[in-house]
């Protein structure tokens, strides 16, 4: 049967377009209308500042210390938090992988993720406050003389990012580690490699692509921290993160153009860091995760 004899319907069907394919249309339209369009709109809007030329918002952002320091302040929180979570997650995941019934542990660890940053912030305010249980315990054992200040400063935000970020990083790492064929490690053990050597020579190289993606996801989550930076940090000082700058521009100054510019810069930093992380493993052109555009 030659192509000319086919009806339009049949020809479309041959290319995979028929009634069933149309089922994807509502979903695509939805994402186009509420995700892609706002992103492009925001990008264009950021070039239409209230005052100044096309780049007015960006010039303003990089000339006012109150605004441009938000990027470094956020990085100073997000990079160590991501690193701590990663460094804690790998050994824990290596250990939990050997458990016969890890389900109870993973269930407990999924709780802080589910509760979210707002609830964790309220919990930390009660628990870590000057009269909270932690400070009472430390003083009871005479480890400190006066209450340690762990909230309303940098450490409050850092701790909250570890409490919600560590379980996230751990569960993601665990799912990558359990995906590694155990017989590879057994082969290494049979040839006389000890645990440490098996980890560095066998597990880690196999895990690296997964770790790069885990790092990227943990970093973007930490980089856009908002509720804990406000509730647990010093939102006027050292924890004035970039999300606060974007929120203030949009909802306190009603300058949506500036807010969009800050959001675009936020996305740009994320893309740069994620691209760097993924390029470390030569992954840049492979996974769909490399296209972290906002």
């Amino acid at each position: 049967m030659s192509a000319a004899n086919l009806t339009l319907r049949q020809r479309l069907h041959e290319r995979g377009l028929d009634g069933v394919t149309l089922l994807v249309v509502p979903g695509v339209l939805f994402v186009l209308a509420l995700f892609i369009y706002p992103s492009i709109y925001g990008l264009l809007l950021s070039f239409e500042p209230k005052e100044g030329g096309v780049f007015g918002n960006y010039i303003k952002f990089f000339s006012e210390p109150f605004l441009y320091t938000t990027i470094t302040k956020t990085l100073v929180i997000a990079i160590p938090a991501t690193a701590i979570n990663m460094i804690l997650s790998v050994p824990v995941a290596m250990r939990v992988r050997l458990m016969k019934h890890p389900r109870l542990l993973t269930t407990i660890l999924v709780i802080p993720i589910t509760l979210g940053t707002v609830m964790v912030a309220e919990g930390m305010l009660t628990y870590l406050g000057p009269r909270g249980w932690l400070n009472r315990t430390l003083m009871f054992f005479a480890l400190v003389d006066e209450p340690v200040r762990l909230i309303h400063n940098y450490w409050g935000v850092m701790l909250s990012l570890v409490i919600t970020g560590f379980p996230f990083t751990f569960l993601l790492t665990l799912s990558y580690i359990t995906g590694i064929d155990p017989s590879l490690e057994q082969a290494g053990a049979m040839l006389g490699a000890r645990a440490r050597m098996r980890f560095w020579r066998i597990i880690l190289p196999l895990l690296a692509p997964g770790l790069a993606i885990t790092l990227a996801l943990s970093f973007v989550a930490a980089f856009t921290v908002y509720p804990s930076a406000v509730l647990l940090g010093a939102p006027a000082g050292p924890t004035r993160v970039i999300s606060i700058a974007a929120y203030t521009a949009a909802f306190e100054e009603y300058d949506y153009s500036m807010a969009s510019a800050v959001a675009m810069l936020m996305a740009a930093v994320q893309v740069i860091v994620v691209a760097f992380l993924l390029s470390l493993r030569g992954l840049f052109f492979h996974g769909p995760a490399s296209s972290g555009k906002g």
Binding site: R15, V20, T21, L22, L23, V24, F30, V31, L32, L34, F35, I36, P38, S39, G42, L45, P91, V92, R103, T106, V110, I111, P112, T114, L115, G116, V118, M119, V120, E122, G123, M124, L125, T126, Y127, R131, G132, L134, I163, F166, L171, A189, A195, V220, F223, T224, Y226, P227, S243, Y247, A250, Y256, A259, M266, A267, Q270, P288, S291, G292, G294
Partner: protein, 274 residues
């Protein structure tokens, strides 16, 4: 396998860390719980006495009934609509190869990779300009973005597991696409649909950023109301804020426990991996 002392010590320190983390987590949740029932708590391990009255106060002061109704409306609408859009989309993605499929896959993946705070600001701008910002519909639309894509990506492997011959058989007997969907696919896909919608439910209850950026005074969900309560701490007694936090926590954890009957905890973070 014989284990050296170093390996044993290493294992011990890893377990100590896990224990320490969980201990602090439990203490953190516990102190909120205790405080919410406490009368006066100053310089002692436990409050002087216990009373349920903070819950009554929180119930009235924070207008919890209104907030709970909004939360149910938002979560209900998001769960139903994301199922109605996401499951058919996943079916098409699993069964057909069509031009531009990679691009479609990419736009379904993007909203799950980009953090809500980043795309939430431009989205809120657009919603406010179309006068949907601050309304219930605006909140529902915003929450649907991660949910629709999440359901779609989660359901694709579930659809792929179903033998296409089952569908062919239905076709041979003359079923239309709609009928086949309702009578054949939905029953077969039910475990997957249930799992993905329960995860959407838990995620939407806890979704702070998007709701926060798009909600007005009358369209706040529980988590956003909790944020404002903590933000304005000092205006009201800390115990009533903790009472509200407990209400939020119980709401979330009940659904989490139900969800965990159908899904593995790791699936909550791995998104669409399996």
């Amino acid at each position: 396998m014989p284990r050296s002392i170093g390996e044993r010590l290493w294992a011990l320190s890893v377990w100590t860390f896990i224990g320490f983390f969980i201990l602090n987590l439990v203490a953190m949740i516990g102190s909120v719980l205790v405080n919410s029932f406490g009368t006066r708590w100053f310089n002692t391990w436990l409050p002087n006495g216990f009373t349920p009255s903070w819950y009554a106060l929180a119930w009235n002061e924070f207008k919890l009934p209104d907030i709970l109704i909004v939360t149910i409306e938002v979560v209900g609408a998001v769960v139903i609509i994301s199922g109605l859009i996401g499951v058919p989309a996943a079916y098409a993605m699993a069964r057909r190869r069509f031009p531009g499929k990679t691009a479609v896959m990419a736009i379904f993946l993007l909203p799950l990779l980009v953090p809500p705070m980043t795309y939430g600001i431009p989205l809120a701008t657009v919603l406010y300009q179309t006068h949907l910002g601050g309304t219930l519909i605006g909140v529902i639309l915003a929450n649907l973005i991660p949910s629709v894509t999440f359901v779609t990506l989660l359901m694709i492997p579930f659809v792929e597991q179903i033998d296409p011959r089952v569908e062919s058989a239905a076709r041979v007997f003359g079923a239309s696409t709609g009928r086949m969907f309702v009578q054949i696919l939905v029953p077969l896909l039910l475990p997957g649909i249930l799992a993905s919608l329960l995860l959407v439910l838990v995620r939407t209850i806890a979704m702070f950023e998007l709701t926060f950026l798009t909600a007005g005074a009358t369209s706040q969900t529980l988590v956003v109301a909790l944020y404002y309560a903590v933000f304005a701490a000092g205006v009201r007694p800390g115990q009533s804020i903790d009472a509200m936090a407990v209400v939020y926590m119980v709401t979330t954890l009940i659904w989490l426990l139900i969800a965990l009957r159908f899904v593995n905890p790791t699936q909550i973070v791995t998104r669409a991996k399996r």
